[in-house]
Point group: C2
Chain length 193, copies 2
DNA sequence: CGCCGAGTTGAACTGAATCAAGAAACGTGG
DNA sequence: CCACGTTTCTTGATTCAGTTCAACTCGGCG
């Protein structure tokens, strides 16, 4: 998959760019091909990069009392970054790891800002991405805040079935805020009420 | 407090607008003065309004099994809206209620979009607000997902002390995802471990 | 074949919910 | 300024969903 194709996918999923903007984006960004399990951002690092997933999947996670807690999943045609580091320019509390063999497009914050300043459409595109992220976070809070483990799982099945198909249960459990054991019991139809 | 002053506050808190944009914003928006407890958005309503809080405070909440669950607090110089309804144009799952005697600036989505299209600065301003909201939501998930009731409360004390000073405990409890009783025990130093 | 990571199952424990009652604070009208 | 009702918060006893810890199963792979 080459960079032209990837940018085409971005345009298909978000919005059309002018030729000029497209060319500049091409010059400013970098395609990276990664093995399953590769870590692209580490805790403590100032990560000023955002990644568009052209192929594969990734997750953001952090360590809390040395427990691995997944915060975010991203699949094809979505962006992932260390939100805090990218937007606030602080050391990343998160790791970002690729879950499958993946192809990412890497864009730095400075370059993205340049493009946003110069091209109105690119600014709109980035606003779209941010808005979308905000809405997903909102949805997730409602789910995490006041539902039982069973409801949280059912909910995830409804709104993000892709996650359950492609991701290890350990990661899903921490994403839902429950233990792996509880998730396992929930999934076993025998334990259903 | 008149509309000129309010817009000045917006500019101080976010960014400076051109004269033209400022005038248009003035024409497009409406100042509303409200008593404590007034509901400005109801569940089921298509609410295409966003509110800038010039004075006072507000909360967004929803009913889950007829329990009142607070989802968001907003104070002076911040915006509040039914995120879902405003951005996705669906019926609002939320109510929005004013917690103190308040002065709000009401802006409709269509008008906001017009301003965003016409004035680059206004688009930047709205992107700032959205980014800020996204970051707050992110922070909140980390807190809700894997902390004890005590930690959640301590956390809130650190990052949003304003909430604890100005809001009823019932609302704080549901915002944290715990019961009023648990919150009460946590606040009592005798029960500290 | 035997090891290893991922998931399942079981039993005991615990933090927070629920239910129920009472105390404080708050506002309104006499 | 006090008496009253209402709302807000506290305290106690009991219950339960989900955690923890530990052992076991299963499927892939060198």
């Amino acid at each position: 998959m080459d960079i032209e194709q990837i940018i085409e996918n971005i345009e298909l999923h978000y919005l059309k760019l002018t030729n000029e903007c497209r060319c500049e984006l091409k010059d400013f960004s970098k395609v990276i091909t990664l093995d399953r399990g590769t870590v692209v951002v580490r805790e403590g690092q100032f990560s000023d990069k955002t990644f568009f997933i052209a192929k594969g999947s990734a997750r953001a996670f952090y360590l809390k009392n040395s427990k691995d807690i997944t915060d975010w999943f991203a699949f094809e045609n979505h962006f992932i970054c260390s939100i805090n580091s990218f937007f606030l320019n602080v050391p990343s509390p998160h790791f970002i790891e690729v879950l499958e063999p993946s192809i990412l497009l890497e864009i730095s914050r400075d370059r993205a800002n340049e493009l946003s300043d110069k091209y109105r459409e690119f600014d709109r595109l980035s606003k779209m991405v941010i808005t979308h992220t905000m809405l997903q976070l909102q949805e997730r809070i409602v789910s995490v805040q006041f539902e039982t483990a069973q409801q949280k799982y059912d909910n995830l099945l409804n709104i993000r079935p892709d996650i359950i198909r492609r991701v290890a249960l350990t990661h899903i459990a921490s994403y839902l805020g429950i233990t792996l054991e509880t998730l396992s019991r929930i999934r076993n139809p025998k334990n259903r009420i």
